[in-house]
Each structure stands twice: as C-alpha cells, then as structure tokens.
Amino acid sequence: MQTLSRKTARMWSRLGQRGTICGVALPEMLEERSDCYILTADLGTTSGLSRVMQQQPERFVNVGIAEQNLIGVAAGLAFEGNVVFATTFATFLTMRGYEQIRHNLGYQKANVKLIGSAAGFAMGMFGNSHYSYEDIAIMRSIPNMMVISPADAGEAYLAAYMALEHDGPVYIRLSGGLNAPVVYTEPYAFAPGRAVWLREGKDVALIATGGMTADALEAAKRLEADGIQAAVLHMHTIKPLDTDALYACSGYGLVVTIEEHSVIGGLGSAAAEYFMEQERKPRQIRIGIQDTFVRPGGHAYVRQENGLDAAGISQRVKAAVSEGV
C-alpha cells in the first residue's frame, strides 16, 4: 500500500477514481494478498484492469455481460474465504443484480466489495441508461452494506484498502472522470463513518459527497466573496452515517447537502432522516437530482444544468441565505 502524497495525489487524479482503484490499488492488493479475487462483467479493459488481467489471470474472472452472475460468482468465491472485488458501471452493478446483492451480500454477508464506476452522469453522452443516481438509495437500504463515495482518486485508493480490511460487504461509488480536482494532497487517516471537515465557516454548513465535494469547496470560496462563511463537511461514508458530525451541523441555521444523486434516498435523505429525529433541527436544502431523468449531455453540462457545480451551489445558497433563515 502506498501513502497519499502530493505526488501520488496528482498522479492518481490523472487516472481518475476508477483508474486508481483498478489500475493501482487492485494490482497491489493481488500482490500483497493471496485471498483476493477481482471480477468484472466485460469491463476489464475499460475499467483499467489490464495489469490485473495480464499479470494475475488466476485471480481475475470475467463473467461477460451478466451482472446477476457477477454477484453470484463473487459471493461463491467470498464464501470460500476470499475477499472479492467486483466492478462494472455503477448503474448495472447495483441495479441489474440488486436482489443478488441483497440476498448474498446483505443477508448472507458475503465479503464482496462492489466498485461502481462512473456513478452520477460521468457517462456523459451515453445518456440516462448509463447514469446512476439511485444507487446510494438502494445500496444503503440493504442491512450490513457499507456505502462509500470518495471525493477524489486518493481517497478512492484509501477506501479500497479500507474495504479490503473490512469484514463485510462494501459499495464504493466512484464519481468524476479523469483529471478530476484533487481534494486531499496530504496523508490523512481515512476512517469509514468519520466525515471530514474541510473548511470552517459560521453561516452555513455544506455537506457534500463524492465528486461534488470539490465543487462544494469552490462554492464556499465564491460565497466568501459575497460575505457568506460556509463550512464544508465531506461525507465520504453515507452508511454508516457520521451522526456526530451531523450533530455539529445542526447548530447551523442552514445546512445544504450536495450530491450527484437523486434527492430521494441519498445523502440528503440520510441527513434529513437524522435531523428529523433531533430536538434541534436546522433548515436543510437538498441539492441533487430532482425526481426526474435529466437531459443528457457531457458531464459538465449535466452538472451545470442541474445546479451541481460551484456556480449552481453558490447561487442556491446565496438565495436561501437572502430569503432569511
């Protein structure tokens, strides 16, 4: 395992979250561990698994375009005492084999790590069939499942190693593409269920996950120019939720959750469920995909159209603040 540094952060950012896990973390794990398998459903080359396919063919399995079987075979290998990583696009991974995931990973605790790539609208022109904005909602509703959404490639690398050591099923939702912004350049302790305060601010708390965290930081900078002090909390783990960090947020007059996911069932919902049961309830705005299939386009275009970039976030926050909380 390598440590996160300015150099690795920059290098891995070029590869993106998927390239870093599939091309760097997984090949390393196979060399370090003998009880590890990597599975995919016809997305070996696309996922950046070439090194694994060439160097570790005995630990690589390609099931073809058959995601239900992907989950079943992964569970069978896991029941034999192995740690199994299964990867394909987030949409097909979590939705086609959903009941297999529930029955094998959730109910029977198969030690399988699901690596869902290109979540949100990272698939750009591929359109809605390839977009995934319900995956957090359906994965977090399965008992025993851990749900992680890293901010950048470096955190994706650390999350993969955490998943390797964690005994139980994990869903790692990879967002963003190549050359995505770097959020972490220094070594830090990644702990599941422990959110990270990236910025302080007294007026509003922005809680973001996945690739949106970089945009939340940028939005906070813009807000500062307008005299609004925004704190940024990166919620890399949606389940188990860091309720201590949310409790701290409940002291703010305004809390804004930001995710490249539907506002139904994702980070926003999870946070709202927590706040709802507390005596002290902040006003909360959920920034995400409204209950709709979006108009397709390039990744940046779809984000912009749906208010999921720094400009959209800061405008929304400014409007909410000026409405008077």
Binding site: Y37, E58, V61, V63, G64, A66, Q68, N69, I71, G72, V73, A74, A75, G76, L77, A78, F79, E80, N82, E99, Q100, H103, N104, Y107, Q108
Partner: protein
C-alpha cells in the same frame, strides 16, 4: 457413505418425517409437492455420494451442497437430520415462530446449510464461484446445486450455465428436479419449458437424464464422467411422489395437511414397499 439399499430406507424415513413435519406445521402449511419429488435426489446425494461430515461441518475439503429450489426444505431438513446435522428436537421446531428451521433455509454451515435459499435462480452462480475457487486452487471438492425445473425459467440460471462452461467447471454438478410442475401448472404450459437436456448440452454441459426416484441411477449419475464439462443431472420425478392424492397435483405445491389426509398419506408411504426402488 451408505449402500444403495440403505439409501432407499433413508428416503422412506425422510418421506414419513416430512409428512409429520408438514402436519405439525398445522395451518401454516408447508411445501409438500416439491419436497416429495426431491426425496430420493437428496437421499442419494447426502446418504450415497457426497463427502460431508456432520461431525466436522466446516471441514475445508467437504463437498459443497447448495439448494436452489429451497422450497424442498421438508426433504432437505430431513436429509440433514438423517446424516446427523440436525437433532430431532431442532427438526421438530420446523416452522415454529422464531425457530431456526424456516420455510426457506437460513445459512448455517455448522448445520450443513451451505447457502440460504428462497429466491430462485441464485444458487448456481454461487456454486459456480465456489467451484471456480476449488479448481484454481486444485482442490478436490465438488459442488452440487439442486435446482427446480421451474427455477430454470430464471434468466440468471443460464448466465451461470454459460459461465460454468467457459471455465470448464467439471467439479460443478447441477441436479434438476424435473417434476414438470410449478405453482400455476405445468412447466410447459406456464413457461414453455422443455428439452432441458438439449439446452444444457447446448450451453456446453454434459447432461444425464435419470429416473429421479431411483437412488441407484441417481448415485451413478452424480459420478458420471464429463470430459471436463460441468454436469447436469436431470432427474425425472413426480411432484408429490409417494402420496396418491398429491402426485402431479400443483395444489399440493404448498398446502395444509389435515389429520385425515395426514393419516392416509402416512399409510400410503408406509405400505409402499420398494415402489420407490424400481
């Protein structure tokens, strides 16, 4: 491992005990038809050929047995009881509130239950994963997966069939309980299911068809050579086998057994001497 004659006796005891448990379940009812069709299949497997040991349930070299058509629990649990995985006390708790032995099995390797069932079409993939690991580590164990014929209507079964063939999993044996019936009627009428053996062969498997109530044929089929291919044993059976009024009647797929019918059913099974031996 038992001789054929002992397995025949084991099957008879399983069938009687299955009726007892179904009757004790009372108004809850139980899956009878598809359990009675699978009695010899499981007796021949657990009693006759499988390398499993209730005294050492977690032994790494054990054969793995997964039940896809998990509604056959009355045959499954009684088989596990016969070879010592379950106590009589545990067995008699069948379908009692909060008890371990539910209408579909819960995973518990210590009690011989390798895989939780209930959702059809999943077990063959999992068995294929286990078989792949055994092959890649040059382990001797075999993986048996019992499927219902109706279960083969699930598309995921055929994903697994393709996969097992690609990886030449000759240590994987799918046993198909071909009782020709499902909840709504015949497998042909409901889903157009036919020519299972040709389908399996077309997917690159070796298919062997046997009388699924003949333990000798079953035991032989489970050990058939396959030339490097996975093996499908298609066991032709009668749903509700052994009880005249249940045989070939889909309404006994899941039903309640009252006292009169219970006594009649038990008498028929007790008196049938060797009919299952054929």
């Amino acid at each position: 491992m038992m001789q054929k004659e002992q397995v025949v006796e084991m099957a008879k005891r399983m069938r009687l005990k299955a009726l007892d448990l179904a009757y004790a379940a009372g108004k809850t009812g139980a899956h009878l038809g598809g359990a009675l069709s699978a009695v010899e299949i499981l007796a021949a497997l657990y009693g006759g050929v499988a390398r499993v040991d209730a005294k050492d349930p977690g032994k790494e070299e054990r054969d793995r047995i997964l039940i896809g058509k998990a509604h056959c629990v009355l045959a499954y649990y009684t088989a596990l009881y016969e070879i010592g995985y379950l106590t009589e006390e545990e067995l008699n708790m069948f379908e009692q509130d909060g008890a371990f032995l539910t209408g579909h099995p819960q995973k518990d390797v210590c009690r011989g239950i390798e895989y939780a069932g209930g959702s059809l079409g999943m077990a063959l993939s999992v068995g294929a994963g286990m078989a792949l690991h055994a092959k890649r580590r040059a382990k001797e164990q075999r993986v048996y997966v019992l499927l219902g014929d109706g279960e083969c209507e699930e598309g995921a079964v055929w994903e697994s069939m393709l996969f097992a063939s690609k990886y030449r999993l000759d240590n994987l044996i799918a046993i198909i309980d071909r009782n020709h019936l499902q909840s709504d009627g015949s497998t042909l009428a409901v889903a157009g299911l036919d020519r299972l053996s040709e389908k399996a062969e077309a997917f690159g498997w070796k298919a062997v068809c046997v009388d699924g109530h003949d333990v000798g044929q079953l035991m032989e089929a489970y050990c058939a050579g396959t030339d490097g291919r996975p093996l499908a044993v298609i066991a032709d059976t009668v749903k509700g086998k052994g009880v005249s009024f249940m045989e070939n009647d889909p309404s006994w797929h899941h039903a309640e057994l009252n006292e009169e019918l219970y006594r009649k059913a038990r008498r028929e099974v007790e008196e049938e001497d060797g009919a299952c031996r054929r």
